[in-house]
């Protein structure tokens, strides 16, 4: 029997929660207010007539077309790279994994201009021979690391083979004083100040985001599926293709969409590496820059609005997929 009276409080006193709730609402509202003002400023600057004029300009139409083509190419390339890289990082535990993880974040953390500058130097100042020596050195260091730990498996041997191949190519090119740009131009794939360069300039950052998305996707898929598939006769590759990949479908779409949106917003590397030539390497981000440069602020605002709409719709696609229980 409970004793009445004494020190037992019947109802405990709790402070009200509205101040905390109000604080949360205030911060969120202030932040959303800033975003709304940013979009609103563009809307107020542009008129329908001016927007129509800008969109009819052949240069801008070319820019929109090139934006769609390059963003799509970058997104496809990013997915092709991010699926295997994301899977490796998600499933395998090996020494050097943290290092690779950090290296993959570098494009995200670097100032975008540096990505463009590095591409410009790589293609125009460094010879293919020197590039191959760098790769041979990297492969040799990785192989040495593996062998140094007493491993003699397929991975250190693969790196040794890579070092030999790159060393051989470096040696074969050692007499040539051509730049990498001259070599790729000779085979019909000019990069610097060409539309292909736009894709290359968009790729590093877009791919880094896609890798993050794919890694999260694979982390959310239980490795048990592969275990069971392997006991049923699959090797790891078959287990990946038959069991994991069908489950990663939504994640792949999300990674591609994310890469597409990132590529859309890329500006610095494109300006430095591919240039901002009207009707040639101009994409929407560079169009905004060029319109500002010629003093056409309403035109720049119209293009900004177009980019905002594209970015919002791609993000909505990602949210929609995530909301439907996809492994995003």
């Amino acid at each position: 029997m409970v004793k009445e009276g004494g020190n037992q409080a019947k109802i405990w006193r709790v402070r009200p929660e509205w101040p905390f709730l109000l604080f949360l609402v205030f911060v969120v509202a202030a932040y959303l207010g800033v975003l709304l003002l940013l979009v609103g400023a563009n809307v107020l600057t542009v008129s329908w007539r001016q927007a129509g004029e800008v969109l009819k300009d052949p240069n801008i139409q070319h820019s929109i077309k090139l934006t769609f083509v390059t963003c799509t190419a970058t997104a496809i390339l990013s997915v092709l790279v991010s699926v295997p890289v994301g899977y490796l990082l998600s499933r395998y535990r090996f020494r050097g994994r943290a290092l690779i993880d950090t290296l993959l974040d570098i494009p995200i953390l670097l100032p975008p201009l540096i990505v463009g500058l590095s591409l410009l130097i790589l293609f125009n100042r460094i010879s293919p021979s020197a590039s191959c020596w760098i790769l041979a050195g990297g492969a040799l260091a990785a192989a040495g690391w593996g062998f140094g730990r007493g491993e003699n498996g397929i991975v250190p041997r693969f790196f040794t083979g890579g070092a030999i191949v790159f060393g051989f190519i470096a040696w074969a090119f050692s007499g040539s004083d051509h730049s990498l740009e001259e070599v790729v131009s000779e085979v019909g794939l000019p990069m610097t100040f060409h539309p292909l360069g736009v894709v290359l300039a968009q790729f590093p950052v877009a791919a880094a985001f896609a890798v993050r998305t794919m890694r999260t996707t694979f982390d959310q898929i239980s490795p048990r599926y592969e275990d069971v598939a392997m006991t049923l006769g699959c090797n790891r590759g078959q287990a990946f293709m038959r069991v994991v990949l069908p489950l990663a479908g939504k994640g792949i779409v999300a990674a591609g969409t994310m890469a597409w949106a990132r590529a859309l917003g890329e500006f610095g590397p494109i300006l430095i590496f591919a240039g901002a030539t009207r009707g040639r390497t101009e994409v929407l981000a560079t169009s905004v820059f060029l319109e500002i440069n010629i003093g056409n602020l309403p035109g720049a605002a119209a293009l900004s609005l177009l980019m905002i709409m594209l970015a919002v719709s791609t993000l909505l696609v990602v949210r929609f997929l995530a909301g439907r229980g996809g492994t995003v």
């Binding site: 239980s222 069971v228 598939a229 049923l232 006769g233 699959c234 090797n235």
Partner: protein, 210 residues
């Protein structure tokens, strides 16, 4: 005396900080052994090592049906696995789950059909063959996982806490199905569990791990 189907000879496993001391076990052909022990003693690790799901053991030998399989990949061992979380492939219907192994091994369509129908009959899955895993109850999912593991007529069936998470009625039902299937298929079985009652109900012999 029956010949041994699975022999673990002084098997040691290292998984990160965890080290499984040398462990030996012999299971005769057609025998069902329950492996028991406290949480964290390495039951599942040992089972996974027997299945080949962990990189070769740090020491010892694994012999299955007279063949040394210590360093063979999981798919070459002829082992069927029912994991703790069942792990039915979410994108495949029940029929496709049962067909998965036989298709991979290149059985012809008549053989596959006969095997799937036989398993469905024995496991009571005839009306569930076109269902997705998401629409199965816990007990049904266990029966499908059992069928998938048995489809290739493995030499050894490994059950890893396969009844965990089922309510009492389903538990009894699935336990009965497992017992029946082991008998019907004549398969050797290794059943990892922490339930003494379950071990006694299903196994010919109980082995304790320290």
């Amino acid at each position: 005396m029956k010949k041994a189907m699975l022999v673990l000879e002084e098997v040691t496993v290292q998984a990160g900080q965890f080290v499984l001391p040398p462990f030996s076990l012999e299971i005769a052909e057609g025998e069902c052994v329950a492996l028991m022990g406290p949480s964290g003693c390495g039951k599942t690790t040992l089972l996974e090592t027997a299945c080949g799901l962990r990189r070769g053991p740090a020491g010892g030998r694994i012999i299955l049906g007279g063949d040394e399989v210590t360093n063979l990949p999981p798919g070459a061992r002829g082992i069927g696995l029912v994991p703790q979380d069942v792990a039915l492939f979410p994108s495949l219907k029940v029929r496709e789950q049962l067909e998965f192994g036989p298709r991979l091994h290149g059985w012809n369509s008549v053989e596959i059909m006969q095997r799937v129908e036989g398993l469905a009959r024995d496991l009571g899955l005839e009306n569930l063959l076109e269902r997705s895993p998401g629409k199965l109850s816990g007990g049904e999912a266990r029966r499908v996982a059992l069928g998938r593991a048995l489809a290739l007529r493995p030499r050894l069936l490994c059950l890893d806490e396969a009844l965990t998470g089922l309510d009492e009625a389903r538990h009894e039902e699935v336990l009965g199905v497992i017992r029946k299937m082991i008998e019907v298929e004549g398969v050797t079985a290794l059943h990892v569990t922490h339930s003494k009652k379950e071990a006694e109900a299903i196994a010919d012999r109980v082995v304790m791990m320290e």
